[in-house]
């Protein structure tokens, strides 16, 4: 029985040839390259996500007076998509590492911990060398930051950013920056207005509240924050361009 099987195998092998070694070397190289590429992407995404959490999330003291529920803000501004991408990248690295000779012998938890430590170390290295700062100035990355500021996107959220044109007893007229549309902002004693700031004509404010036709019943009014990234990228009237305070250059 065994001899018969051996003969069958040997007969089949007669027409076969071993694949050349370079094919496997290329495959190994691609695997290693893939791991490095995924690591770099993970470090980048980690940097952006961390920036957004620290600079946009109310958990770290941003937008305290915006009028929204604190927990709603935390979850609304949290960069879920980026965290999702980061998790996928880490799983991808894990999968590829498991394919590298002998590394599968390590515990899965240990591999994940190593990946997290390397990603975090990579982030801090990029921070120290100024690489993060350079990357943050990139147009694509800036757009990601802007998209992530969900609560502060005028076209989607109940938020309008505009210049004060007129102040009356219980209402303000503002001109929205990116559309030039005029809004009447109605406020009362319940409206949370950022402390230590006075409403003055010409100031840029962010209003959060309920929209109805050309009126907004304000829940919160906040003056334009120096930390509001990408603000200068909104298209705005020529007449306002020189009056606008310059937002600081992005940094991580």
């Amino acid at each position: 029985m065994n001899k018969k099987l051996n003969e069958k195998i040997k007969t089949k092998l007669k027409n076969k040839k071993p694949k050349p070694k370079w094919q496997f070397q290329i495959f190994d190289f691609l695997k290693d390259f893939g791991i490095i590429l995924l690591f770099i992407s993970a470090i980048l995404i980690f940097g952006i996500a961390l920036y957004l959490i620290v600079h946009y999330n109310p958990f770290f003291g941003n937008y305290k007076n915006s009028g929204f529920n604190f927990f709603f803000q935390i979850f609304s501004v949290f960069p879920w998509e980026l965290i999702g991408i980061l998790v996928l990248l880490i799983l991808g690295i894990y999968y590829l590492i498991k394919k590298v000779h002998f590394l599968y012998r390590l515990d899965s938890i240990l591999i994940i911990v190593i990946i997290l430590v390397l990603t975090t170390s990579g982030y801090f290295l990029a921070e120290t060398t100024g690489l993060n700062k350079k990357i943050a100035g990139n147009q694509i990355i800036r757009e990601i930051y802007q998209k992530q500021g969900r609560l502060f996107k005028p076209e989607r959220g109940p938020v309008v950013i505009g210049e004060i044109l007129k102040i009356e007893n219980d209402k303000i007229t503002i001109q929205e920056i990116h559309s030039e549309k005029e809004w009447i902002i109605i406020f009362d004693e319940k409206t949370r207005i950022q402390k230590n700031q006075d409403l003055e004509i010409g100031k840029i404010i962010m209003v959060i509240g309920e929209k109805k036709e050309n009126q907004i019943k304000a829940r919160g009014i906040k003056f334009q924050s120096e930390n509001f990234r990408g603000f200068n990228d909104f298209p705005r009237p020529e007449s306002q361009r020189n009056q606008m305070p310059r937002a600081p250059k992005p940094f991580i």
Binding site: N2, K10, L13, K19, K21, F24, R105, D107
Partner: protein
């Protein structure tokens, strides 16, 4: 048969086809029985065994000499057996085949120790009721007499997880046999 190690023969294969022929003689039977136990069919295991050796021969350049050749070959056998099971979707519920059980490598058969009063046929039937992963880990450890590190290389799992997997599979096997005794 030469006195060369498996690894030496594997490295020679690209220049000398005969070297691989010797590896076929050394391992064809073991691989055949290994696959037969996994897929539950002695006849169909023969075809899969042939595929294993053809694949091993074609991919011999990818063999890393730091690894044991047997582990590398069993890895291919594992993949082929798993593919076969996936394709056929179910286990072939084969009749008890004495040949399969007679092929136990002469190591201490701990499974039989655990279930002292059972005969090989009942163990064989109970093994068929385990999942592939459970069956495989028991088979490699008890029937093929592989060490933890070799099992880790064959199944590509961490060394630390091998022990608990064996224990879990053993407990499950014991339960199956106990349940069958009751009924």
């Amino acid at each position: 048969m030469s006195l060369k190690t498996d690894e030496q023969l594997a490295l020679e294969t690209s220049k000398n086809k005969e070297a691989f022929g010797e590896l076929v003689e050394r391992y064809s039977e073991k691989i055949h029985y290994y696959i037969a136990r996994l897929i539950g069919s002695f006849q169909e295991a023969e075809d899969t065994t042939q595929d294993v050796f053809i694949k091993a021969y074609e991919n011999i350049a990818s063999f890393n000499s730091k690894l044991k050749f047997s582990s590398w070959l069993y890895r291919i056998a594992h993949n082929e057996a798993v593919n076969f099971i996936k394709k056929n979707y179910r286990y072939k519920k084969v009749e008890y085949n004495e040949d399969i059980e007679n092929h136990q490598i002469e190591s201490e058969d701990l499974i039989l120790k655990i279930i002292k009063n059972e005969n090989a046929k009942e163990v064989h039937n109970a093994l068929l009721k385990l999942k592939t992963s459970e069956k495989e880990v028991l088979q490699l450890y008890y029937f093929e007499d592989k060490k933890y590190v070799e099992i880790s290389d064959i199944l590509q799992i961490s060394i630390n997880s091998v022990g608990p997997k064996i224990k879990r599979a053993k407990d499950k096997l014991k339960k199956i046999i106990e349940n069958e005794q009751k009924t």
